[in-house]
Symmetry: C2
Subunit: 261 residues, 2 copies
């Protein structure tokens, strides 16, 4: 059944990876704060797909093509957001076609959906009709908000940029993704500063190599506050690490409040 | 005075570019929403430095080293955020030293500042002392919030991850940056859907090649709303483009509300 040397050993879980590519000058100018990375990374994690990198790039053809071609070979899944609307700055679909070396033209199913949605011909303008152009070989991704579809080319999913539409498109296609074991996490918040807990925390990480322990300092009601996040795929291990962590925080007189996420 | 063929022509303005590298598993897990990209990109724009790319990468040594080495050669300035605290997952300073092929050790000035800040030796723990380790050749970046400094290696600036500290560090070092002409923008909001204005908008972009016109659809009080953003370095040109834009939106019976940013 297994070709590993020792079939009694649990085979290493395949880690399924993703890269999110945000296409848009408005994020790079600081004008718009991206909301899609947080949403997609969180949802992918639930499906056992780990987001290993995100990039924000401008609406420049060469940059989009080269970025997509680089990351689609490095990661199991790629999600792009932005640039598939009806205006002159919407160049993502053409760039994806270029990246895959295929043509692009109106997709009959997309035209059909949009014709039904817009009804009268006067509203289905040439600009809107451009949104039915799909790279050849692309599989449509439904848009439950405003109909004009996204699409999948091999392992690359191309979504709109509006967060509400990204959420709808992701919901419509997520059954196509094959993830590994879902990542789960436990978080312990403490009022103890990092500088006083770092040594014991490092030792805890040493004892739990299968768990990723992150320390995120910040402020809470104006006072320093640290969130210690344990992430992994086995909740029993997370619970054990969390218990040890809480014990040492309390032993030093600190707060230790656990959240299960 | 000029070595261009036609000295009467205005020489092309040098475009000064930046890349922001966010280092942190917490953003990739979707747990934390990054706030540093928006802040830095906005501030850099005011100084005439254009953010051309952002990357979010995990706390993995090889990924940090290879990303920093790639982007520091491609962009005029690089800013990293995250991973310079006292805990085991804070590996950024070591990775920057590795990327530049230099050693890293306690910096006397950093130790001095932190000794004064923490006062008694019991509070200046070995973990906190780790934060005084600076790659050799690094120039300190002041930290007006919690003292432990960031640093500059050639064109790479390494900041903490906490937004309040990033803001403080940026304020403390921004005089070191040499930018081009500041980017300025005018925004016109309309209730006209993109699909009905796309054609005229594309023609306007064609007449104003020196301006970047972006169209950002969204929702406002539940109704579709589009922000049309004109960005460039010459406000007279922005004003002219904005006037034409407002005129055609009003001619089609639409709203046209201008914001100067």
């Amino acid at each position: 059944m297994s070709d590993t040397a020792n079939p009694a050993e649990k085979p290493a879980e395949k880690i399924v990876t993703a890269c999110i590519v945000v296409i848009g000058n408005e994020v790079l100018s600081g004008r718009t704060r991206d909301a899609n990375i947080g949403f997609l990374a969180g949802e992918l994690g639930k499906l056992g797909v780990r987001t290993m990198e995100c990039r924000v790039i401008p609406d420049i053809e060469a940059r989009i093509v080269e970025t997509v071609n680089e990351v689609r070979r490095k990661f199991d899944y790629v999600f792009t957001t932005g640039g598939i609307g009806p205006t002159h700055d919407d160049i993502t679909a053409d760039c994806i076609a270029m990246a895959f070396g295929v043509g692009i033209s109106e997709n009959a199913e997309a035209v059909d959906r949009m014709t039904r949605y817009y009804g009268e011909a006067a509203l289905f303008t040439p600009a809107r009709r451009r949104m039915s152009r799909i790279p050849h070989g692309g599989i449509l991704v439904d848009n439950p908000v405003s109909v004009a579809p996204g699409f999948q080319m091999e392992n690359v999913f191309t979504f709109a940029g509006i967060p509400r539409i990204v959420e709808g498109m992701f919901g419509a296609m997520k059954h196509r993704l094959v993830g590994g074991a879902p990542m789960i996490s436990r978080t312990v918040r403490t009022n103890q500063p990092e500088g006083l807990i770092a040594e014991q925390l490092g030792a805890l990480q040493g004892r739990y190599a299968d768990i990723d322990i992150g320390s995120y300092p910040g402020f809470r009601n104006g006072h320093p506050s640290v969130q210690l996040v344990m992430r992994g795929t086995d909740d029993a291990r997370l619970a054990a690490a969390s218990a040890e962590l809480q014990a040492f925080l309390k032993a030093m007189g600190g707060e230790a409040e656990e959240f299960v996420q």
